[in-house]
Symmetry: C4
Subunit: 276 residues, 4 copies
């Protein structure tokens, strides 16, 4: 389909700028994009504040249109510069990019659709791609490794929490009943989650002594089992650290012993010079 080499090279350069962040222009583009995303989110936020919207409605509206047009251009450029446009369009970021562009256009046809612009907040996730540039790559990588390797344990834990909440919520519905705010089982389960996670809004609270006793059990349970995910991640990260310590060292040239202190000049085992 593409046989003009100049066109390809032009596309390749555009692709590098838009999709990658290794070149100077790529970094610049990503930073500008992030500023535009944050601006657009601030605009949507301010628009939702009634008192502010009344005063500066026109200013906000113009800002929205500028952002929308910029996003539209970016979206088109992304489609043009990529080899397989369909793959981008139906990718996670592709869908988000479209959804954060169209609401302003849709507001001509559908009245309520304007609120969809709030979905732009999802574009902020792009920030993690930009973070890769800086010194945070190591930090976020290690976090991800620790989380990934403890995925199975955390899944079992969340599963256990959910079952406990279903059972305790159901029991609370039977104990407290509709007259005390536990109007149906889903709401009771919602209350059990609110309580077990130690959030405790207080919009629904047990009134009967038996209900308060069960609530106490739920709270102490929630207070104790928070130790489990914490323990999982802590031990995972401690393990990671241990691995780090081992890999950061030299090996003695004469006796081949490893695990030397970081600034060591002589082998701790045979006394020969480490870096002649």
């Amino acid at each position: 389909m593409e046989n003009n080499t100049r066109k390809i090279s032009w596309k390749t350069r555009l692709h590098e700028i838009i999709y990658e962040a290794d070149t100077k222009e790529g970094k610049f583009f990503d930073v500008i994009l992030l500023i535009a995303i944050i601006t657009s989110i601030v605009l949507v936020m301010l628009e939702s504040v009634e008192s502010f919207d009344k005063k500066y409605h026109d200013f906000l509206n113009i800002g929205e249109w500028i952002i929308t047009i910029l996003f539209s251009i970016e979206y088109l450029l992304r489609i043009i510069s990529i080899q397989k446009p369909l793959k981008y369009i139906f990718s996670f970021y592709g869908v988000i990019d479209l959804l954060s562009t169209i609401p302003k256009y849709l507001s001509f046809i559908l009245v309520g659709s304007h609120n969809l612009a709030a979905l732009r907040a999802l574009r902020l996730l792009r920030i993690f791609r930009v973070l890769k540039l800086g010194r945070y790559i190591g930090a976020s990588n290690r976090l991800l490794v620790a989380l990934k390797s403890s995925r199975a344990k955390i899944a079992v834990f969340l599963f256990f929490v959910l079952i406990v909440c279903i059972i305790l919520g159901t029991i609370m519905y039977m104990v407290e009943g509709e007259e005390n705010g536990f109007t149906n089982i889903p709401k009771s389960i919602y209350w059990a989650i609110v309580t077990l996670t130690t959030v405790g809004f207080g919009d629904i609270a047990p009134q009967t002594p038996l209900g308060q006793l069960i609530a106490s059990v739920i709270m102490i349970l929630g207070y104790s089992i928070i130790a489990i995910p914490t323990g999982i991640v802590s031990s995972e990260m401690t393990k990671n650290n241990a691995n780090e310590n081992i890999t950061n060292t030299q090996s003695c040239p004469s006796c081949l012993k490893e695990n030397h202190k970081e600034k060591a000049e002589f082998c701790y085992n045979c006394g020969s010079i480490l870096n002649p």
Copy 2:
């Protein structure tokens, strides 16, 4: 009692399907059962939502009956296929299975008994038996090992929390008094638990300056001592990890024992050289 070998083998096969999950049919049965349990719980939930129950009462009623009949058949099959039926009937799961089957039948006689169907949520605990099949066995096993070995420490901790709540709850009852919602000592203890576990519903809150001072102490205490169960489980899991590392090594060539120390040159069991 049973002397017909064909009957025994038929029972044995049924037993394998219903009680075990190692065979293909056994897994299939367990998955079907779980789907039935989840469906039954969703039905009970929806029934408790008044607006939904009004519209689809008949549909929910029929669904309930189908589930009840399925559960009844399963319950009877469980009794038939096991060697010692009484042991099953009075076991934890046996009682739960019965309690989750009979409410619909009882609703002919007793009016309120229908709510007992909510107890079906307890059947969800069976899911942990099915989880054993998959890749989660390691994760949940390690979790259980860590929790079991820190059982004594956690018991001491919970005991300490309870005593602190009783003492502080009693003091708050004396300080705040009935006019500020602390109507009696059990309720004050309930409040102390709500506060110490950092749930904080806010249905009862101290009003006097002295009460707020004591509440502050309780909150900071609760905020700090949550470190204790977390520390217990974290260190237990880190220890487990350390033990894991030991198991990742050679196996003795003469006695085949595993779990040697990392730098071991001789087998700790038979004394033969590990790496000749």
Copy 3:
């Protein structure tokens, strides 16, 4: 002062039973005492519940008197059997024992004094002395060791939390003002503690946008710094565990290497038998 040997031996035996818990009688006495303490606490609790007190006032009153007389006898026996009675009387437990005995007598003279009986809950602390008997000694000891060795770090942390709460509470008083519930600085500091510790009663909540912004900062701060006490205790306990592993082992009789596996029969270094 005491020169009659028979009298001394009688006192010594009494002392052993009341103050120590190594003999059979001593254990029995402590268990009976705990039951009496728990009973007395339950009585005081029930008495504070108005509806219950109305019905069973006489029963509760008689129960109170029996407990009071038993506690009085115990208190006198404690004074008689000890070598230095004054030291006991002015000790922590001595004061609590007196305070939990006299309220009922005082209720003849002073009307409100009866509520002091609630202080009996403090006697529950004795339970930790009894716990020493059982298998929990190891668990609670290790907990105490970990807490003691991290005392300085936890003190610095709590100090930091208090200063942060004073500063942020003061700022919130200036931002939100009296019209939004932040009526004075001590109350604002109380609110800051409620928020930082993630309790969140909701009796006072920021209403202005700026106040909600500062509140968000406090909440995220509180959510993050809870990691600090947890980290302190976790690392302290992990260190303890490491020490445990090292100390639980033999040393090889021929090459003197240590740190053998627990069930090792041969030295991992020289292959000689460990326990000939």
Copy 4:
């Protein structure tokens, strides 16, 4: 500029007393200063309590003036005794010192300015400088080291929390709407922070079933991801402990270097035998 040696030595001594805390007088000055700061904070607190201010207005006013004059003298002495006064005046502590001195003078001109005295609480931060004197230096140093080395990870975590709160807050605004208290997006984000950090004031709470479902997800998320900062700090501190263990060993007999590896036979710095 300064050529009179006696004047310099006088200034140097003053500088030592006011700015340092190594000498006896320096310690004494710092302790007196802390008492003055705490007294001034207590005065400002009491003044904000209306009922107390009415009774003891004159007493509080005189106390305020004494503190203000003392602080003024201290501020002038600080400027006189330091080599580069401008550097102090525009430093963090210099600005705080000024801000905590002037409000009382300003109260003659501006009426509301008196509240600025509350900023004196910031002076409490000085306490950490005094803490350096005591045995807490090690504890607070190790805390700081652990926090500093996990700074990048914690930044990534807080960033992730903020993005999640923006996205979930926006979604909740769309789901619940203004009629249920989610009046605008910033407020919804504030609610998301309140919920994710498990504070849960309850001033705003979801009312629709879908909103409660999303709230449940937020709460379980917040309950789980608290494990991340905790895990970061825990593992950092465990690593610190490990390094500590290394430092608890011999010192080289020829070059006096310390911190050798535990089984080291030769000095890592000069290569001489450690234990001849």
